[in-house]
Symmetry: C2
Subunit: 331 residues, 2 copies
């Protein structure tokens, strides 16, 4: 095994987020489960919802892309593979990712559909409810994979969200094989509880086959994956199947289990939760960067908590303050 070129190579949806404030009553009106991600299947559906949305702000997003942007901001070496279209939002996405220092060379896709957009409604409690039009992102083909890039990453990081569209799902399976053959680790985030209801069997199979080395889940996702009602039971069940399990628990902090060792961290105190978009993504960034530095489980969790606290203190899922400086405070 040669020395890795990148700490993390991620494959994910290439999305620009459009964030606007909304009342709880609006979330009920549009019939979406608050806090979840719902797919929009046509540009018309996306346009119709956009027309009902308040004034927005656009910030590059995409779960795994947010994570590698966070790791790059922390000083890690990252690459991203994801599909944008040849349009202005695609340019914005590519610019922002490269500007954070992430290598991103997936060829743009000509013609329709457009680059993926996620309409994110942020309620007064800071919770985000997401409506995604996957656009070009759902057509990431297996041939877009740079085999050397994947083989040269210490960790291949994959998002559950990308399991929805067929082409990227095939690409991710191929990527796992490439990473495995190169003796690299595979990290996976379960993304969303509804994503598990759609693809839970696939996810459970991946885990059972020993293809996931580091698994990220929030409490609800873990329960859905484990098909259990009790969080501790679920932790015990899933931790037995993966070398590293990280469970985020919102304001209750997070827990990581690895080889029988268990570490916990409280949530970082913050003044006000402005927008929870990207909290899990940045938690993963901090944790993975800590692990890449050879830090303990506990210190890695702590960095995850610090990064998550930064991201929820403002709109959008890309860091606005110097994460390196925050990490340096951890010693």
């Amino acid at each position: 095994m040669t020395a890795p070129v990148h700490d993390v190579v991620a494959i994910g949806n290439a999305i620009v987020d459009i964030l606007a404030q909304a009342e709880d009553s609006f979330i009920e009106e549009i019939g979406v489960a608050k806090g979840s991600m719902q797919l929009m299947f046509s540009p018309e559906e996306a346009d119709a919802l956009y027309a009902r949305m308040g004034p927005g702000r656009e910030v590059s997003g995409g779960s795994a892309a947010n994570t590698v942007a966070g790791i790059a901001a922390l000083g890690g070496r990252c690459a991203f593979i994801g599909q944008v279209a040849d349009d202005q939002l695609g340019q914005v996405f590519a610019h922002d990712l490269r500007a954070t220092g992430v290598d991103f060379a997936t060829e743009v896709r000509a013609g329709q559909p457009t680059t993926a957009r996620c309409l994110i409604f942020v309620t007064p409690d800071g919770q985000r409810t997401m409506n995604t039009f996957l656009g070009a992102s759902q057509f990431l083909p297996e041939k877009a994979l740079d085999r050397d890039l994947i083989a040269g990453g210490a960790i291949l990081y994959l998002e559950g969200y990308l399991w929805d569209p067929e082409e990227p799902r095939q690409a991710m399976r191929a990527a796992i094989e490439i990473a495995r053959n190169a003796q690299r680790k595979v990290a996976f985030t379960l993304s969303d509880v509804f994503c598990i209801s759609r693809h839970g069997d696939d996810f459970r199979k991946l885990i059972a086959e020993g293809l996931v080395d580091i698994l990220f889940a929030n409490e609800n996702e873990l329960l859905a994956l484990a098909e259990l009602d009790d969080c501790e039971d679920a932790i015990a069940k899933i931790a037995a199947q993966v070398p590293v399990l990280v469970v985020t628990r919102s304001e209750k902090g997070a827990v990581a289990i690895s080889n029988g060792e268990r570490a916990t961290v409280p949530a970082e105190p913050i003044d006000k939760v402005v927008d929870t978009t990207g909290a899990g993504d940045l938690f993963a960034a901090g944790f993975l960067h800590g692990q890449a530095q050879g830090w303990s489980l506990e210190k890695s969790l702590k960095l995850g908590a610090v990064c998550a606290a930064e991201i929820i203190s403002h709109y959008g899922a890309r860091p606005e303050v110097d994460l390196k400086a925050l990490a340096a405070k951890l010693g």
Copy 2:
């Protein structure tokens, strides 16, 4: 004179802002005067600067558009005339303006160039330095003017920035005539000190011809317009030529002079200046809305100061909190 349909009808550049943090050294490197607006004349120039920019966030902008967005957020009835292209940034601009309640019906312009972008570098002191690619915005034709719309607005509001490109300059001259013939008021903002070095003679002529009823300027712009070194001298000189003069003085507050009456207001205290983009635009929004309500000069200034304080407390020049609620606190 029939009752006005809109409180304010504005003509301005239709721009999407791309905001990123930058160090002071970067502003020096790119050779732009800090705090000013510089035009970029080609897409290539814009792309080259964008490539050097950090990760951004996109928020609809445009000086006069920000002002009517602010007035609409305060509950005023506004319309906007400005040129976007048939592209994603044009859709973003139109969406955001309409979503604040501003009537915006200017037909999109097919083909190149793209919708205007403004690359805004925000330094650690919160100061913004702007680099604008006017794109489609510079091709607003006189025929895009809706004569009835302009004749039905109590105030026609124009931005000095739009004096740069030739077609909109002609359109604005025509709009002034329409407004005058309908016995409406004309409000004008000087926009930028370099804008005055380019078009000061035109601006002075407009004022001398009695075509400006309400003039907005910051201190530097006022000095440049008056061709004087002393602020009080400049106020005296220009106040004699316009029915209402409003001078914003950053942290020193603002002053308004009308028919020999002089009112002043201190700057609103805020915790931290995050980004000054739109401070003048939102000051104008508050002042004009106050005037439309029949408020005193002083109370109108106060609302201007409150709106400006809101806008500089976050990134972007569109309000993020309920301005109506802020206005209500003024009683």
